[in-house]
Amino acid sequence: MRRISAILTLGLVANAFLACGPPPRKPKPVEAPEPPPPPPPPPKCESLEENCKATSSTKARIPGVPYVATPPPGWTYAQTDAALIATSASGGVVVLTAITPVEPAFKLTKQRADKIKELAELVSVKPRRRQVLLSVPTIRKEIVGVEASLWQRPGATRPVEDGDDVRGAILVVSIPLEEKNIFGFGFAGKDDGDSTKAVFAAILSIREGKAESAQSEDTPEEADDSEASSQ
């Protein structure tokens, strides 16, 4: 009997201890998560060093006129004050700007030649020495609703980072607008079919409009590497 009462007493004591237990810890207040840092400002894509990659929906401004063009997807582009420049790793280039045409025709021809020289230096393209006569075009083609002149001039070169100079042709375009002409050229290696097509497509993509914010789709982080590598 004593043993039973001792066991019961021990059980009661144990229950009492377990029931009370150590004082409960206060739960730590849950800290509200810090708001994420604001996204970096969108690149203005005004320099090639910003490494803005074009996509198929990019609208890049052509300086001096309210017109835009879509640089070849995957190419690095910049909307500089001097020109819209797009380049590819394989050596392809598109450079477009606006000129105020002069009269008479022979002065306009010289103006075109001078501008080509200036733009070529801008993008390190070396046109053939005696090919700058841009009077009668190779073909005329309707772009932005007007008859544009296109000149095809082979024998140009452009140095690339790895490897020998790329040899190819330049395609010069002049689109007469009311006061100004959209003027520029594209370059692609003669064996670089993709760049050749891309340059031609970029020139045909010229249309009236405003440049779209680069942030929406053209941030360097969102560059479409697969497209870039395919060029």
Binding site: A105, S124, P154, A169, L171
Partner: protein, 554 residues
């Protein structure tokens, strides 16, 4: 590793904005650039791996120090050097020169012996000046020799130290580019050629300047056959007169011996200096060489205006083997010209109008000084023109006055005859017109009323000169130019102009349209109006050719 390949617009070291790429040989890239002050410069950007080599960088520093101590009319100073933070590549900056390189000069044709003699004298002088400091070029070629204008053809050398970079970071491109100017010992990296290596290159450069061709047969094709070149380089030499004959050029056989000695395979057989070569050329060209070719002595008639580029020399470079100014710089100062740190005026032509045969003229940065001997002649011509113009003007004015005076004289009797009835007013108006117009008889339509106010000049009153008629000829599309009786007219805003009555031939011109010639008969007092449609010229399109972008080749 290669030198950074940067695009136009990139800024090097935050100071130099690239305009274009000049040359790229993997271990080194040369860019045309512009600094913050708007000066055009050449920036050489080296392989960034070189920056890791302290020994190489120290050698380059020493080269720059020695160059800074040499007179600026002998070498092209490095105006800045350092590391580009974004690419970690070392760079050096030199001013862009307005003087052409020897390669550029020869591209227009081979030079005459006397000109080559003067140029090689300058080369020898510059090399000798550098050799005083144990500095050798070892990369001499026509593209880094810059030649000043006639008659002195002063020479400035560039690219000292390039051989150090190329030796550290050898590339096939650089090898192919420089091989035609290498000496045999440069095939072995360990071999130290010294001055004799530069003598070998000088001889090759001299031959190139005299003939417009490389001495090596293997270098006449592009790309160069490097294996054949090596065999040629180490093989027996052909006399230069015979080699020149292969290109249809004539070189005097007297040069054979000296060239053979300068182009000897073994360094021991070669002359230690380029003097021998220079003197042989000078003797053949009839040009006195002077002491300057043999020593470091400075040109007797040093003209700072000869220097082009106008860049400031690096400030007070120390003598590499001791403090203070270098001997050459000291001597330079003794000639009354600040040794260092002085910006030179842009290059001026010192030729005095005497072009030396064999060398084409090239534009200098400043206008030529007028020849004083021509001044009296110019003065007489100008005076004659002024006098003649004055006399002609006087006669024109006199004739105009006479006409008006006659009108005055004759208008009075006419008025008294009661025909015109407005003589006093006409006379007054005519006088005013005469005064205002300086007596010139041409009176446009508005003021013509004054002269024809009812008084005929001949006094008859009935046969007054016909009044000009307003003519409006409108082209469709608008004319670019309108010519009446061979004289161009300037239509008003409403395409009208004044024309005297009678028959006239009018030619209407517009670019891209066929010009139209019409005859018009203008009747007095009846305005003339006509619209003319121009026909567009259909230019024949060139036949489409097969190409890369358009009409793609199959």
């Amino acid at each position: 590793m290669t030198a950074p390949h940067l695009s136009a617009g990139h800024t090097i070291a935050g100071k130099y904005t690239i305009s274009s790429l000049l040359a790229f040989t993997r271990e080194m890239a040369s860019y045309a650039a512009r600094d913050h002050q708007g000066n055009d410069v050449v920036v050489k950007l080296y392989d960034s791996a070189i920056a890791q080599r302290a020994d190489v960088m120290a050698k380059l520093d020493r080269v720059r120090q020695v160059i800074a101590a040499l007179p600026e009319d002998m070498v092209v100073h490095v105006v800045d050097a350092g590391y580009d933070a974004s690419t970690a590549a070392p760079f050096s900056v030199t001013p862009q020169l307005s003087q052409p390189s020897l390669a550029k000069l020869v591209s227009t044709g081979a030079l005459s012996v006397d000109v080559v003699a003067k140029i090689m004298t300058g080369v020898g002088r510059s090399l000798a000046a550098a050799q005083q400091y144990q500095l050798f070029h070892h990369g001499l070629k026509p593209t880094n020799i810059f030649v000043g204008p006639a008659p002195s053809y002063s020479v400035r050398l560039m690219d000292f130290g390039v051989s150090i970079v190329r030796g550290t970071s050898p590339t096939h491109e650089a090898y192919a580019a420089c091989a035609p100017w290498w000496a045999p010992e440069q095939l072995q990296a360990s071999e130290q050629g010294g001055a004799a290596t530069d003598v070998f290159a000088s001889a090759l450069v001299a031959f190139f300047a005299l003939t417009g061709q490389s001495y090596w047969r293997s270098c006449h094709q592009s790309p160069i056959d490097l294996n054949a070149w090596q065999q040629e380089l180490l093989g027996p030499r052909t006399p230069v007169s015979l080699r020149a004959e292969e290109f249809g050029m004539n070189l005097h056989a007297a040069l054979d011996t000296v060239f053979l000695r300068s182009l000897a395979v073994s360094i021991g057989d070669r002359a230690g200096q380029a003097d021998e070569l220079v003197q042989a050329l000078a003797a053949l060209g009839g040009t006195p060489v002077g002491d300057s070719a043999r020593t470091l002595a400075l040109p007797e008639e040093f003209d700072p205006a000869m220097l082009a580029g106008g860049s400031a020399a690096p400030a007070q470079a120390a003598h590499p083997q001791g403090g203070g100014q270098a001997p050459a710089a000291h001597a330079f100062a003794q000639h009354g010209y600040p040794a260092t740190g002085t910006p030179h005026p842009p290059g001026a032509d010192v030729s005095g109008g005497h072009a030396t045969p064999g060398l084409p003229n090239f534009p200098t940065a400043q206008a030529k000084k007028p020849n004083k001997a021509l001044l009296p002649v110019i003065f007489v011509i100008v005076a004659t023109l002024l006098l003649g113009g004055g006399v002609a003007g006087f006669f024109v004015m006199q004739s105009g006055s006479v006409t008006e005076d006659d009108a005055h004289a004759k208008a009075a009797p006419a008025a008294s005859g009661g025909v015109g009835g407005a003589a006093p007013a006409a006379s007054t108006d005519a006088t005013k017109s005469s005064e205002a117009g300086g007596g010139v008889a041409a009176v446009p339509s508005g003021s013509a009323e004054a002269a024809t106010g009812g008084a005929a000049p001949d006094g008859t009153g009935g046969a007054a000169p016909a009044e000009d008629v307003k003519v409006s000829i409108t082209c469709i599309p608008r004319c670019g130019a309108i010519t009446v009786d061979g004289k161009k007219v300037r239509p008003d805003k409403d395409d009208s102009f004044m024309l005297s009555p009678g028959e006239h031939t009018v030619v209407l011109v517009r670019g891209g349209f066929r010009s139209k010639k019409i005859k018009v008969n203008i009747e007095a007092g009846t305005p003339f109006e006509k619209k003319v449609a121009l026909v567009r010229v259909r230019r024949r399109q060139p036949p489409p050719s097969c190409g890369q972008f358009l009409n793609q080749c199959p």
